[in-house]
């Protein structure tokens, strides 16, 4: 899919650094250093790396939720602070408002944009239907399963029509089956839209199955090591996971990551390997 699109850069991250300074102990911790990344318009980019490599931090910076120590992030050439309206964030913990019904949760972004009540309602219903949860519109989030909650969170973000979806390990807390079915749904939704997706994950399979390109991030401090083009045809059936091409890509990603594991200072190799293979 990426090959057919003009490769216009949607998000440009240049020389990004983030250092936390602990004033009490006068020590500092560099999470990201000289981080560069270009996200093309309309592409599905997976950011893959071990826990603690700063990939979630990167996403928070992209969303403008925290400020970098130095460096620049632009969206369509604008600094990220002014591009808030183009961004939608999907959190690993769903972040649904427990005091709002499913319907009201999905309406939140439209409410913020001052959309009238009736239109809000019909828009919310459209997206709830899209994720198959219209029947649960008047439930509260805690009455739903994890998979359903994440569907609501996705509907909520789609409802106000952002051009870019930032997804922070959105399926990380789900069981394997729910996870696969949500991956399918997400691809289905994305293929019918022109949205740019940045999807953070620590699962090699998930990254390859979903993405046009996989950016492998190493740690200590975090930076992009390698970008792998995923040239698997779309739409991708579940069986694509067993194809030779998929297996080859997985091996390539694994090689790149295990090289990273050799470099990892302090962390026992087995432990890090575990975080990578999960799901």
């Amino acid at each position: 899919m990426s090959g057919t699109r003009a490769a216009r850069d949607k998000i440009v991250v240049r020389d990004l650094s983030l250092t936390y300074v602990n004033e009490a102990t006068a020590s500092s911790h560099t999470v990201l250093d000289a981080f560069d990344l270009r996200v093309r318009e309309g592409e599905f980019l997976a950011v893959l790396g071990p826990s603690g490599c700063g990939k979630s931090t990167l996403l928070n910076l992209l969303a403008g939720l925290s400020a970098p120590t130095s460096g620049r992030i632009t969206v369509d050439g604008e600094p990220v602070g002014g591009a808030r309206n183009k961004l939608g964030f999907v959190f690993q913990g769903y972040a649904l408002f427990p005091w709002r019904t499913v319907r009201k949760n999905v309406e939140t972004g439209l409410e913020i944009r001052g959309v009238k009540r009736a239109q809000r309602r019909s828009e919310a219903e459209r997206f709830l239907r899209l994720v198959g949860l219209l029947d649960f519109a008047d439930h509260y989030p805690h009455q739903l399963s994890g998979g359903m909650r994440q569907r609501v969170a996705i509907a909520r973000v789609l409802a106000y029509g952002p051009e870019i979806l930032l997804m922070d390990e959105p399926f990380g807390a789900l069981d394997a089956q729910t996870r696969e079915s949500l991956q399918h749904e997400l691809l289905g939704i994305w293929e019918q839209s022109a949205k740019t997706v940045v999807f953070v994950t620590h699962s090699i399979d998930e990254a390859i199955f979903l993405a046009d390109r996989v950016a492998i991030v190493g740690r200590g401090p975090g930076r992009v090591k390698e970008i792998i083009d995923i040239d698997l045809p779309r739409p991708r059936p579940a069986s694509v996971r067993h194809s030779a091409a998929f297996v080859a890509l997985r091996q390539r990603a694994w090689a790149s990551l295990s090289h990273e594991l050799d470099d990892a200072r302090g962390a026992p190799r087995e432990l890090v390997a575990e975080t990578l293979t999960g799901a």
Binding site: N60, A63, L87, F89, A95, F97, P98, T108, E111, R113
Partner: protein, 284 residues
């Protein structure tokens, strides 16, 4: 009983299944025994109260039996005086409570949100909240005179602190991810306060308000016993001074009922506002 009703009212939610099942089990004829259980202590208390003065164990000059107290209350209703006193007391306690809530929720929001301001002001309010409302009554009288304002001021003081402390703690405990989520959708600061921080902190704020309701009645009685010409507190003390002992107990009983009424209204309000929490405890 009230608890029983709420259990049956619960919608069929995931988390409510257990409670409903419990209610159904109780439902078959067991309801009566539950009601009986809940009244034993009250009945024994009333009987003892009736018997002690009537049998002469306690002098009726000190303790009137409940039957006489009931008559005294009926007389108060007949003459219409009850509305003067109950009305005055209700007006004072409710207006004091509302003023306290308004002030403490607003300042609690500010202090809960701006950590620096809270660090600076915390020692001051830790000190001030220890100052008894009753100790301050002479000060309020100096500044505000003996009229309504000093009486309401003492109630405001007593009701202010529990709401303030609970609001601060509620606002501080709002999960970061809710605020981040609203910000990521482009929410303004106003939206975040009104539609994220307020509902997230509301359970704690309401707990503070319930406490404040109880404190406001205590402060009310004290205020009405000093320089008032109406109100249940005044009526109680005045009856004692004129040796109308059944009327004194009537005043006490009515004060207890007013307290109960305020408490019940506040817990109804709480249940109404926190409907979304039904079944949450079980599901996380």
């Amino acid at each position: 009983m009230a608890e029983q009703e709420t259990l049956n009212e619960l919608p069929v939610l995931l988390g409510a299944k257990r409670s409903v099942a419990r209610g159904a089990r109780r439902g078959r004829g067991v309801n009566l025994s539950f009601a009986f259980e809940r009244s034993i202590a009250l009945i024994v208390f009333a009987v003892l109260w009736e018997v002690l003065p009537r049998s002469g164990i306690v002098s009726t000059a000190y303790l009137s039996p409940p039957s006489q107290v009931a008559l005294a209350i009926a007389r108060l209703f007949d003459s219409g005086d009850v509305w003067t006193h109950l009305g005055a007391s209700a007006l004072r306690s409710i207006s004091g409570l509302l003023l306290a809530i308004a002030g403490s929720v607003v300042s609690g929001f500010a202090l809960g949100w701006f950590r620096r301001a809270e660090r600076i002001i915390d020692p001051l309010y830790q000190l001030l909240r220890q100052v008894s409302a009753f100790a301050l009554f002479p000060v309020f009288m100096l500044f505000l005179g003996i009229g309504e304002s000093s009486k309401i001021a003492i109630i405001v003081w007593a009701a202010f602190w529990p709401v303030l402390l609970n609001t601060i703690s509620g606002v501080k405990q709002v999960e970061r991810v809710f605020i981040d989520c609203a910000r990521s959708m482009g929410a303004s600061q106003g939206f975040i306060f009104a539609k994220v921080v307020l509902p997230a902190a509301l359970p704690e704020i309401l707990t503070g308000i319930r406490l404040a309701g109880a404190y406001s009645i205590t402060a009310l009685v004290a205020a009405e016993m000093i320089g008032a010409r109406s109100g249940l507190g005044f009526y109680t003390l005045n009856s004692q001074e004129t040796f109308q002992i059944p009327d004194m107990y009537a005043g006490i009983v009515l004060l207890a009922l007013l307290g109960l009424l305020i408490n019940k209204s506040l817990s109804l309000l709480e249940r109404r506002l926190l409907r979304w929490r039904v079944g949450l405890a079980q599901n996380g």
